[in-house]
């Protein structure tokens, strides 16, 4: 039910991982890193890549799930507490992604009045997806990879005519700003935690390091290319241009006879974003089932989505405050949970699982 293929994880990195870094991130990072956005992002990607490498090494040594590893090492009670903390962290990080998406949707897809009601149906989709297990993440990744690449290449292609790459020169001038940019952007790089939740649900194959490394690299290149182009387009005023995927190609298309055709690709990327935003909720929902086996899929999904829905509703009009909180304070937790703790996971007792479930061929 919850088995996924290594290929699907690779596709997740190519076709879904970049998307959360293309909405607000390209306009927030230059505030700190100035024209060194690519350099700053590259450091984050290298750190994230190292974490993923460690988790992959762990997957080679064990076929237990993350919760089983915690149980083997710390016993049931402490393992449950640690796992709950991780689930809460997933919820916190997904809260930012959903808030960001909500702001993007409201600012980009509407010209007139909107209410929080406009965004709330998102949770119907999320509820449905969370109730269907982790297998859907893999299948969604299969579907999203070509869709993302097609839309991404199209939107980049449309934006190329207006770029001034000299804006990102000289490289390395940002000094401390580069590292400050690193720290504040930790909350956009929490997805390196996801492979930890895939543990036990996929089989380590030959050349897994290479396959995941290449796909992760492609995803990272997509983000860095986007950052460079976006900064090349807007230069110093990039920080004022949030919702970057809606702005990157608009000068090429707005005054043509076909109009804002780039919106077709913006919608496509938004669809991928919807899918990716649900992923941490699916992990949290699955985690809840692991912790409490009596809790069925529907109940777990309902609890997780209700909690997030409640938070989103409570902070409907506080997007700026949330963004400030996440960039100013949350990066500490993000760094610990996304970078440090997954590396610590390699010290957990690595035992072979007793279950004999094989990964499905398709």
């Amino acid at each position: 039910m919850n088995k996924i293929k290594l290929r699907q994880i690779c596709f997740l990195f190519i076709g879904m991982m970049p998307i959360t870094k293309l909405l607000m991130y390209p306009s927030i990072l230059p505030y700190y890193a100035k024209n060194d956005v690519v350099l700053s992002a590259a450091i984050n990607f290298i750190l994230q890549g190292i974490v993923i490498g460690f988790v992959l090494w762990l997957s080679k040594k064990t076929d237990c799930t993350f919760f089983q590893l915690l149980q083997n090492t710390f016993g049931k009670i402490i393992a449950t507490i640690i796992y709950i903390i991780f689930i809460l962290f997933l919820l916190f990080s997904s809260f930012m992604l959903i808030t960001e998406q909500k702001a993007f949707v409201i600012n980009t897809l509407y010209e007139n009045t909107h209410t929080y009601f406009n965004f709330m149906p998102f949770f119907i989709v999320s509820f449905f997806a969370c109730s269907k297990g982790l297998k859907t993440i893999g299948r969604v990744a299969d579907l999203c990879m070509p869709i993302f690449l097609f839309a991404f290449i199209a939107i980049i292609g449309l934006s190329l005519s207006n770029i001034n790459f000299s804006s990102i020169l000289p490289i390395g001038g940002g000094k401390l700003g580069i590292f400050k940019g690193n720290l504040i952007s930790s909350c956009w790089y929490t997805d390196c935690l996801y492979p930890l939740f895939f543990l036990g649900h996929f089989q380590y194959e030959k050349k897994s390091f290479l396959k995941i490394g290449i796909s992760y690299g492609i995803g990272a290149i997509c983000v860095m290319l986007f950052l460079a182009i976006y900064y090349g387009l807007y230069g110093d005023i990039t920080i004022l241009r949030q919702n970057s995927i809606a702005h990157i190609a608009k000068f090429t298309t707005a005054f043509t006879s076909i109009g804002r055709v780039d919106y077709v690709f913006v919608f496509t990327l938004t669809l991928v974003h919807v899918f990716y935003t649900i992923v941490p909720l699916q992990f949290a929902s699955n985690g809840l089932i692991e912790l409490f086996p009596k809790c069925n899929n529907i109940l777990a999904s309902a609890i997780i989505n209700f909690v997030i829905l409640l938070f989103i509703w409570m902070f409907t009009y506080d997007f700026s405050s949330i963004q400030i909180f996440y960039s100013q304070y949350f990066w500490i937790f993000a760094s610990i949970f996304a970078y440090i703790l997954p590396i610590c996971a390699i010290f957990l007792k690595k035992e072979r699982s007793t279950t004999d479930e094989k990964v499905l061929d398709v």
């Binding site: 293929k5 290929r7 699907q8 596709f11 949707v105 897809l109 509407y110 010209e111 007139n112 009601f117 406009n118 965004f119 149906p121 998102f122 119907i124 989709v125 449905f128 997806a129 269907k132 297998k135 859907t136 893999g138 299948r139 969604v140 299969d142 579907l143 043509t256 006879s257 076909i258 109009g259 804002r260 919106y263 919608f267 938004t270 669809l271 919807v274 899918f275 499905l360 061929d361 398709v362």
Partner: protein
Amino acid sequence: MIFYECTQDNDMKNETKKTLGKKLKENLQSILEILTAEDILTYQFYTKDNVLCTAIYIDQITDKELLGSLIAKPLSLIDAPTTLEDAMKELYFPENSCEEDVTTICNKILAGNVALLIDNLQGAIVLGAKKISSRSVAEPPTSMTIKGPREGFIEDIKINMGLVRKRLKTAQLQFDMIQCGKQSQTSIAVVYLSGIANKKIVQQVKDKIASYEIDEVVDSSYIGKFLTARPLSLFKQVGTTEKPDIFCAKILEGRIGLIVDGSPIVLTVPYLIAEDFQGPQDYFASPYRATVSRFIRLFAILISLLLPAYYVAAQLFKLQLIPFGLLMTISASTKNIPLSPSIELFFLLVILEILLEASILMPKQVSLALSVIGALVLGDTAVKAGIVSTPAIIIVAISGISAYAVPELVGTSSIIRIILLVLAGSIGTFGILLGIALILYALLTMESFGTPLLAPFAPLVKKDLKDSLFKADLFDLKERPAVFKSKNKKRLLQKKGVENEQDKT
């Protein structure tokens, strides 16, 4: 053929097993006690030595010519046989059997066979003298082709089985016969190629059908419903076709087919949604043309689903989505329309559905009048009266026509189109996106006998992409679809020593 009984008439089942004796009168009485209808006839004749014989049959579905020439005549020329086996030797009849159980004999009579009782002999001879009138094999109206075979299945299961056997002259082709329907006792042939089809799925199909007890199986769609994992889903989960060539191609891929007596539409499982984008003549046209056609079908279905919703979302929430020049034209046409775009489109889509429904049910002679009323009176007058706008009519027309590029999905797409329209009218483009996401999640999680509906796209099965939206050349389709996990993978081998023209060049 294997007879695998799914349901039986409860009244017959509850009776204790009754067998025939030697006295003809008593035997006849026991059968006629069960078969009381007036269309059940008896024909009495005597052997040369004056022993009474009685044939029991049903008026309209038994071949009386055969009864007379091959049953009554030979027996009347000889002395009474001493055993049923001896009697069978005298009757040169291909389908015959000796039966003693009254219930079995009654069931066989009801199926159109003749039961022959001979005085002083225990049991009855059942002779297959069925004669059911059926229409001739013709091109099915739902899948016409310019190139390629034009045969279509009809309502008679025997003829349909013959059409399949004619194309697949192999000992591997199996027809496992089962019956379903408490009252109708409808015959169903489970068709597969042993060694190619997955035996587990064959058994699952039989078990699923056997798990339902229904009065009558009117059409194959009833069996289709039995085979679906999610009966309430909007999406079909069983493949259908009316053409033997397509059916045989699917069987050769490792699928399992079901021919239901009384229905010209045969079923195939496992079903993949990509099947519906494959046209009947894709395999007879050039692969480039076939690929283009399949992409056009995909594009058409997207247009059909999204165009009305997109138009409404653009007008109500995001005018930027429409190019400026076009926006001016639209606004000039819509400025005096009293209805909001969403209500206007909703109203027109409902009218379209009514017209389609009426055109199917209406007699052919009236359909021309209906077209005039629909297209001219309703469309033209409604625009002139200022009730609906011209762009709205154009959009509904394009959407309606596009849906028919994939006829198998017309029913589903018309419902989804209205759902997306309502979402677009309520929350704009984000509503459309959420609707699409929900549909994709629903499709991603659906499986037909363990095969994901969206395969080979999600999960990705690289080998099977060759015949999905893309259509590779025949020489590249060397293997059966991997998604069906067939044991026999190869379907095209080039014999050694035979050089291909392509290789020479």
